[in-house]
């Protein structure tokens, strides 16, 4: 097949590209330029898409002998991922931009462009496995639980899966690094990237505040008593404990967490840990890796990247789903995704609209 290998400049996508070549595919390396003002050099493990990263990817492509191009998707990335990220926080939700990027950029804009240019598929360095099952291609967890990225791929539908390759899913990360070193890749020891690529210093609150401006408001407890001030409700996430700066301590000394964010009144509500436990989750924007399930379905529900899987019953209804967890989960923020598993197989996903108790 003719395959575009998406190459970030990191070790994973480098090995993925090399494995695709060895599998006999006709491979072209593509680095996505996602930043509208790319820095020259990488400054930390965070961030990506610097000119240095593009150069690292180019050197790997040279080494494995494939053509290499940089595709400018900065405008699409800003519109579909960055602006969406800001809008979601503004609406009091906590988005996962990696999922959004996979859904709208890597397996949409990039895949569609590749197909239009005559390619058959896209390969990435994600840790996940594609298995040919009785009902078509299935998405499964990677063998390395510490690196498994099936959660952020839970937005892919059957058509996208049919056009995707994840060549690293059967290998652990240490083995990938060893393989990269054996292949003589200069990126073999390059640090993993972390957090949100477009917030290079990792300070999401500061980044949002610079974009949206300070919007001072009250932090209240569940009785409505003002216990502190904030500089913008948009910067708070349900389940958050740190950085609240509360002025009025609780008489019982119990720790307090953000239990609700109300963008309409610019209010952050705090409460004790017990208020955070939820076992009934409503999601919308449902996506299915295959046919949509009919009726009640036993699943495992994962509520955040690298979060634990909780046994549950899911019921799909059009674009929405309802998930009843067998036990309560804490810190479930609207805007995050719930990804549903059947064993190691990804069934589908939805964006959490609200969470409560049965």
């Amino acid at each position: 097949m003719r395959v575009v290998a998406a190459m970030s400049g990191g070790v994973d996508s480098a090995v993925a590209a090399a494995r695709m070549v060895e599998a006999g595919h006709e491979v072209v390396g593509v680095h996505l330029a996602l930043s509208q003002s790319a820095a020259t050099l990488r400054e930390s493990a965070r961030g990506c898409c610097t000119i240095e990263d593009a150069g690292d990817a180019r050197r790997v492509a040279d080494r494995i002998g494939i053509p290499f191009y940089v595709w400018d998707m900065a405008a699409r990335f800003k519109q579909d991922v960055v602006d969406d990220f800001v809008a979601e926080y503004t609406a009091g939700r906590t988005p996962n931009p990696c999922l959004r990027c996979n859904e709208r950029i890597k397996f949409a804009a990039l895949l569609d462009k590749a197909l239009a240019l005559g390619f058959d598929a896209v390969a990435t360095g994600h840790y996940a496995q594609i298995v040919d099952g009785p009902g078509g291609r299935e998405l499964h967890r990677a063998v390395d639980p510490a690196k498994d990225q099936s959660y952020v791929l839970g937005v892919l539908d059957a058509d996208q899966l049919a056009r995707s390759f994840f060549p690293l899913g059967d290998t652990t990360k240490p083995q990938i690094r060893a393989e990269a070193a054996e292949r003589g890749f200069s990126v073999a020891k390059k640090p993993d990237s972390h957090d949100i690529c477009f917030i290079a210093d990792g300070d999401t609150k500061g980044w949002l505040t610079r974009r949206l401006g300070e919007q001072p408001g009250d932090i209240v407890d569940t009785d409505g008593e003002v216990v502190g001030q904030h500089e913008g409700a948009f910067a708070y996430t349900v389940g958050q404990r740190r950085g609240l700066g509360l002025k009025v301590p609780r008489t019982d000394g119990a720790k307090r967490y953000v239990v609700d964010v109300e963008p309409r009144t610019n209010t952050v509500v705090v409460g004790t840990q017990d208020l955070l436990g939820v076992d009934l989750i409503h999601g919308d924007h449902a996506r299915w890796c295959g046919a949509a399930p009919v009726g009640e379905r036993r699943v495992g529900a994962q509520l955040r990247a690298h979060g634990e899987e909780i046994p549950a019953v899911a019921t799909a209804s059009g674009d929405s789903i309802e998930v009843r967890l067998d036990r309560r989960a804490r810190g479930v923020a609207p805007g995050q995704s719930v990804v549903l598993y059947d064993g190691t197989r990804v069934v589908g996903s939805a964006t959490i609209s609200r969470a409560g108790r049965v």
């Binding site: 072209v28 180019r58 191009y69 595709w71 005559g118």
Partner: protein, 399 residues
């Protein structure tokens, strides 16, 4: 495709076999041209013979030839060196009058002087063909003639091939006693370039654009031209440019310029015919393609003989580039890249072309190794590439 079709001679043109031989021969010889012993004198002799050959080929005197590392260095030296010198002599001279479609080696030098050295700049507007009007230059100078440090305008444009009226503009600058620099990187080897007749005070050229090696170039500087140097050291090259001379590179440059000059007329006729065939074929392909700049069959007074610049509506240049590359055709979008991403060209924008229109640009440039078969292969590959690139743009925009 067994061998690629190379249509990017404006980026670099293959070194001629005689050039490669001359460089190899010189590389095998020891000698620093600044040394006083026998080996040094031998190297010096090669440099000075080369200098005389270059001077003869370009209508200059030998002492007017300054060897540099290439076009970018020559432009930097001309712009910064002249600005510093002329303003040092008279602090009122803080203004530069510069073409708006220059190469980044000129534009970025000017912007550096504006940002870091208190310079002011007036960009010379161009018409829809990319040509500057001498009367506009006169008007810019007349605002305050005593404040102008330098006028700079390229001989021919690297993207769209537009040839500028350099002699007329040099004459206007001289009426006011202002020096004139021209970036002739694309012109030397393709058009007759006579330094003395052009009236320019400073002229930049680069060896690898006319069949010489990469990494060596020249600045022609009239005997009365004075600059503050960028590099200080051994005082070589009239103290314009300190540093050990690249004797093999200079030898290669001189051989290349002699070959290019000797075949100039025949080569020009041959390239114009190829160019017109390429442009004509693209326009007639029913793909809604437009040619950028002046295009008249057989004309070399307004467009470089080897330049074809096409705009393909509804495409991104980088998609076209990939598809043609995959089909064995090597060409360019013509504009500068940032991290590998072609940016909308400042040249096209200055010519009044809309940003969206400027994105579907394709530059095809011909040179001494180009043939009818190259043009035919390009025209053959073009329709499928355009059709796919249009689908790709629609797909990646989510249309």
């Amino acid at each position: 495709m067994s061998f690629p079709v190379y249509l990017d001679h404006a980026a670099t043109t293959p070194a001629r076999p005689e050039v490669i031989d001359a460089i190899a021969q010189q590389l095998a010889t020891v000698g620093n041209a600044s040394s006083l012993h026998t080996a040094g004198r031998a190297a010096r002799r090669v440099v000075e013979e080369s200098r005389e050959q270059v001077a003869a080929a370009l209508g200059a005197g030998p002492s007017e030839v300054i060897f540099t590392s290439g076009g970018t260095e020559s432009d930097n030296l001309a712009i910064k060196g002249t600005f510093w010198r002329r303003r040092g002599d008279d602090p009122r001279r803080d203004r530069l009058i510069v073409g708006s479609t220059e190469h980044h080696a000129v534009i970025d030098s000017v912007e550096f002087l504006v940002a870091e050295h208190g310079a002011r700049v007036d960009w010379i507007e161009v018409d829809s063909e990319g040509r500057a009007d001498p009367e506009r230059v006169r008007a810019l100078i007349e605002r305050d003639p005593g404040s102008v440090a330098l006028v700079s305008l390229m001989w021919a444009n690297n993207e769209v091939g537009t040839v500028q009226p350099v002699a007329e503009i040099a004459a206007v600058a001289h009426e006011f006693g202002i020096p004139f620099h021209t970036d002739a990187v694309q012109a030397v080897g393709q058009l007759p370039v006579d330094f003395a007749a052009s009236g320019a005070d400073l002229l930049s050229a680069s060896a690898h654009k006319f069949g010489g090696p990469q990494g060596v170039g020249l600045l022609l500087a009239r005997r009365d031209a004075q600059v503050v140097p960028l590099t200080h050291g051994g005082g070589q090259e009239r103290e314009f440019r300190s540093g050990t001379l690249d004797v093999p590179g200079i030898r290669g440059l001189a051989v290349a310029i002699q070959l290019a000059t000797a075949s100039l007329q025949d080569e020009q006729d041959r390239l114009v015919a190829l160019r017109d065939k390429l442009i004509g074929g693209a326009l007639d392909a029913g793909l809604d393609i437009q040619v950028t700049g002046a295009h008249e069959v057989g004309d070399v007074t307004r467009r470089l003989p080897g330049n074809a610049h096409l705009r393909v509506p509804g495409c991104d240049g980088d998609s076209l580039l990939y598809l043609l590359d995959a089909a064995g055709i090597e060409c360019s979008t013509g504009s500068a890249c940032q991290a590998g991403v072609p940016q909308p060209s400042h040249v096209l924008l200055a010519m009044g072309i809309a940003e969206d229109d400027a994105r579907g640009a394709l530059r095809l440039t011909l040179g001494h190794s180009s043939s009818d078969a190259d043009v035919a292969a390009f025209l053959d590959a073009l329709p499928a590439a355009v059709e796919r690139a249009r689908r790709a743009r629609a797909a990646s925009r989510g249309a």
